[in-house]
């Protein structure tokens, strides 16, 4: 999508931060916003609805002392149930790391991560595997389907891995929900990019996960396919209260979300609620200046 026109006609902002510019703005205004503006009862309170995903003071450092890079620097954020959050920021701002840490794919250097009310910070591999089968779904830029399996088999895979015999009807229904009922027997190579991404979404949704993690889900799609995919995700949030955490570069994709948070140098630097594409693009341009 880089350099192409977004649906409302604005040029996509360039990805790179100008050389030598480091962003060291005061954090006070942003750091506390999760707690002050979107306030949820404490997780431990009886009867409370815990956020789908919570990060507390999460720091992730790559490399050893000399060449250490702080990809995330004390991030506090929670993703409420039934909400769609887009995470934006320039390349190297830490948005992918945020997603990986939230999903337990990477260990955090400091801080705690909770998913669906469970602390996964120090979870074992077996525990994380179980969570990936039950409460997390993943969708990525490169559709990541298994080439030797049909669409139907790809969708059924998570259930099979969990040791359940997937009822054919369930698989069919999920495929129908992404408008691919007639492509069930096709292999990925026989599907267009947009169709493959919809199969990937169906696969992520078949376990009815508490949270769907999406990393640039429209990054490899043409504008039309991207719009179809985004409206499907929107429908999932609106009708069945799906929680989505999505990393993206694309202001149009971000504008489909309930809110957009901006990362810079591993910190939360800004947020927008229910923004338009233009607002996102403007804000992004400001942060990338």
């Amino acid at each position: 999508m880089e350099g192409s026109k977004t649906p409302d006609g604005t040029a996509s902002p360039t990805r790179k931060m100008p050389a030598g510019v480091t962003d060291r703005r005061p954090r006070a205004g942003w750091n506390g916003y999760v707690d002050s503006k979107v306030s949820y009862p404490p997780v431990e309170a009886p009867g409370a609805v815990a956020p789908a995903v919570e990060l507390h003071g999460v720091t992730r450092v790559y490399g050893a002392r000399g060449a250490a890079v702080r990809a995330l620097d004390g991030v506090d954020i929670s993703f409420p149930v039934g909400s769609w959050t887009a995470v934006m920021g320039p390349s190297g701002s830490g948005k992918s790391t945020l997603l990986h840490c939230a999903a337990g794919l990477e260990r955090v250097t400091a801080g705690r991560v909770r998913v669906a009310g469970r602390d996964i910070t120090d979870a074992s591999d077996a525990e994380l595997t179980r969570l990936r089968r039950t409460v997390m779904g993943f969708v990525f830029q490169s559709f990541n389907l298994i080439g030797s399996l049909t669409a139907e088999q790809n969708v059924a895979m998570p259930l099979r891995l969990a040791g359940r015999r997937p009822p054919r009807q369930v698989v069919r229904d999920v495929l129908a929900a992404v408008d691919l009922a007639d492509r069930a027997r096709h292999r990925p190579a026989e599907l267009s990019g947009g169709q493959q991404q919809r199969v990937a979404i169906a696969r992520a949704m078949v376990t009815r996960p508490a949270v769907l993690f999406a990393d640039e889900p429209t990054g490899a799609l043409d504008t039309r396919s991207a719009r179809t995919v985004l409206s499907m995700l929107r429908a999932m949030v609106d009708t069945s209260g799906q929680t989505i955490v999505m990393v993206t570069h694309d202001p149009a994709a971000a504008a489909s979300a309930d809110r957009v948070v901006f990362l810079g140098d591993g910190r939360l630097v800004d947020r927008l609620d229910r923004p338009s594409t233009r607002q996102v693009a403007d804000r992004l341009a400001r942060w990338e200046e």
Partner: protein, 633 residues
């Protein structure tokens, strides 16, 4: 997970072709060797043969048994080796897919199950094919054994249906053993690797490789230290073992050793292409290592075994040359001693008659088992004049009556001493012989000297003759039998030995070569199929197709050279050990490295790998580069 295994298998079968052919070949050889082995072991000796004929027949069967046994062991070893490197390679290629599985919720155990499932399928297909291929192989093996003179004409392996169970077990066993290490690696793939490149090449040297490689390397060093410490006959098998352990160590440590050895190539590889080839060689350690490994194994086996046999043959030739103090050798088919004495111009003559007798050896639980043994009946005084006899204890002159002189090296564990009595069975002779002298260790024989009383009245005789004017005397002796100058006789003797060992070599190594050629081509083909993107990038950057092919060829040839060097090093361990053991035994240093064979093997490997590399690179660069580069993201 098995359904999943099936669909991967169906989809990626080209990757598995090499492994299937390997398993098929392994199963065919195991099945055929086993059936032939059982047939040879249970073969009955027809009645009415003379003791010597019976003896020759039994020896032949015994030779066939040991050849078949070696074939069995070698085919299983090499097959497991090739299958495991194939799987290691496919796992490296499929990291992303495996990570994706982990991401969608597969546990570590399930990833392992997936790979073991693939191995089971591969093993089943390979076994089925192998059981079929085994039938003609068995006929071929029988014909070969017959041709070498191990078994009488008309010998054939008999079909036994239980072998099918063994074949299936072997095929599946080879495949599953081969997949074990790779599946452990696969289960460690992190889900995150589905999303970004984590730099898989950086972690080729795993902890397991370190441990196993170090153990084998330490084992090889220990063996090399043990060989001189043990000395003598016991050191021979240990030395042969050295090349096995060394080559395994090199193969396991290849990701470490190959770049190390490739370092000096930087001095040779100059210019744009050379630099690229050298960089590729060092960058993709796994690829270089998996092509170099089979070449190492091939060179280590072929050169190690040829060197062993060459060294032993050369040493026994030198031993005979040192010990024979005659000018002429007369081979007669009947005793001609009396007529010989009348020939003018003759000095000392030693009459020697081959005698087959049964020697009783303790069978371990107090009983005695008799074993047919070759001895030489001689007149001790004449023998001592025409041969160098460095008796280590006793006196050869006492060889009269019920007595025997022995070389304790024949059965070191029995610790024969002068004065011992050996239970024997001898035609018309006594049933106990007293040891009167101990002969030194020998490679060429004889191990047993018997007194002249035991010379049979008829039968072949050999005469070692001293003569002042050998050519003239040779003319006069021609009527009595076949006369040869001592030097020619020694050379003929060595040639005969060499030919026998060459036959065995051809049988064993032909098979090993077949395997390793398979493995080499397999490695080149699998890796080239993975490099389309890389080749395309090189071409977009400005290289022509020809230059890409040349760079890949240079890289492959460098890998061949590395493999040959390391394999030769492993073989050198064996040859050095053998040479040392031989020197310790008979005081002759006769290391005889098979340079010609080494050159031929290196050339052959270079041709095969070079051709495979050029063909696969051409195939991988057929699509216009820009399409591949553009299609990648």
């Amino acid at each position: 997970m098995l359904g999943m295994s099936w669909s991967t298998f169906r989809d990626r079968w080209p990757t598995f072709v090499g492994a299937i052919v390997t398993v098929c070949l392994g199963v065919a050889l195991v099945q055929s060797s086993l059936l032939t082995l059982v047939s040879a072991a249970t073969a009955t000796v027809p009645p009415g043969l003379s003791p010597a004929e019976e003896r020759a027949l039994r020896d032949g069967y015994a030779g066939a048994l040991s050849l078949l046994g070696m074939t069995l062991g070698l085919s299983v070893f090499v097959a497991v080796f090739i299958v495991s490197s194939t799987f290691a390679f496919t796992v490296a290629q499929r990291r992303r897919d495996l990570a994706l599985l982990r991401l969608t919720g597969a546990g570590r155990g399930q990833v392992r199950t997936l790979l073991v499932g693939e191995a089971l399928l591969l093993g089943t297909v390979g076994s089925a094919l192998g059981a079929l291929v085994g039938l003609p192989v068995m006929r071929l093996q029988a014909a070969m054994l017959c041709g070498f003179g191990f078994v009488p004409a008309g010998f054939a392996g008999q079909w036994r249906s239980w072998v099918l169970a063994v074949s299936a077990g072997t095929g599946v066993g080879i495949a599953v053993l081969g997949v074990l290490a790779a599946s452990r690696r696969a289960s460690r793939v992190r889900p995150l690797e589905a999303l970004r490149d984590v730099g898989g090449a950086a972690r080729v040297m795993t902890a397991a490789r370190w441990v196993v490689g170090t153990i084998f390397l330490a084992g090889s060093v220990a063996l090399l230290v043990l060989v001189p410490a043990l000395g003598g006959e016991a050191a021979l098998p240990l030395s042969i073992f050295v090349s096995f352990t060394l080559v395994t160590a090199f193969a396991v440590l290849a990701p470490l050793v190959v770049p190390l050895v490739s370092w000096p190539f930087g001095l040779v590889f100059r210019g744009r292409l050379g630099t690229l080839a050298h960089a590729n060689l060092r960058a993709d350690v796994r690829r270089s290592a998996s092509t170099a490994a089979p070449i190492m194994v091939l060179v280590a086996f072929v050169v190690g075994m040829a060197g062993t046999m060459g060294t032993l043959t050369e040493a026994s030739r030198q031993e005979v040359a040192r010990d024979l103090r005659a000018d002429l050798v007369l081979d007669a088919d009947r005793p001609v001693g009396a007529r010989l004495a009348g020939v003018p111009g003759i000095g000392a003559v030693s009459e020697e008659a081959p005698v087959v007798f049964d020697l009783a050896l303790d069978d371990g639980d107090g009983g005695l088992s008799y074993e047919a043994t070759d001895g030489l009946a001689v007149d001790p005084a004449a023998y001592a004049r025409t041969h160098r006899t460095a008796v280590t204890a006793g006196d050869l002159a006492d060889l009269r009556g019920a007595s025997i002189a022995v070389s304790p090296g024949y059965a070191p564990e029995l610790r024969w001493r002068v004065g011992d009595t050996l239970p024997v069975r001898l035609d018309g002779g006594p049933d106990r012989l007293r040891v009167v002298a101990l002969l030194p260790d020998t490679l060429a024989g004889p191990y047993f000297l018997l007194p002249p009383e035991f010379m049979p009245d008829a039968g072949p005789r050999r005469y070692a003759v001293q003569a002042a004017d050998p050519p003239a005397v040779a003319g006069r002796l021609a009527a009595l039998g076949q006369v040869t100058g001592a030097e020619q006789w020694i050379d003929a003797y060595a040639d005969d030995q060499q030919r026998q060992s060459l036959d065995v070599m051809v049988a064993l190594l032909g098979m090993a070569m077949l395997y390793t050629v398979l493995a080499m081509v397999n490695a080149v083909v699998i890796s080239a199929s993975d490099r389309r993107g890389e080749f395309a990038t090189a071409r977009v950057t400005g290289l022509t197709r020809g230059q890409v092919v040349r760079a890949a060829l240079g890289e492959s040839l460098a890998v061949v050279v590395i493999g040959v060097l390391l394999g030769a090093l492993a073989a050198a361990g064996t040859v050095a050990g053998i040479a040392f053991a031989v020197e310790d035994m008979i005081g002759i240093s006769a290391a005889s490295p098979p340079w010609g064979l080494l050159g031929a093997v290196a050339l052959g490997a270079a041709l095969v790998v070079g051709a495979a590399s050029v063909l696969t690179t051409l195939a991988a660069t057929r699509t216009p580069a820009i399409r591949l580069v553009a299609a990648r993201e």
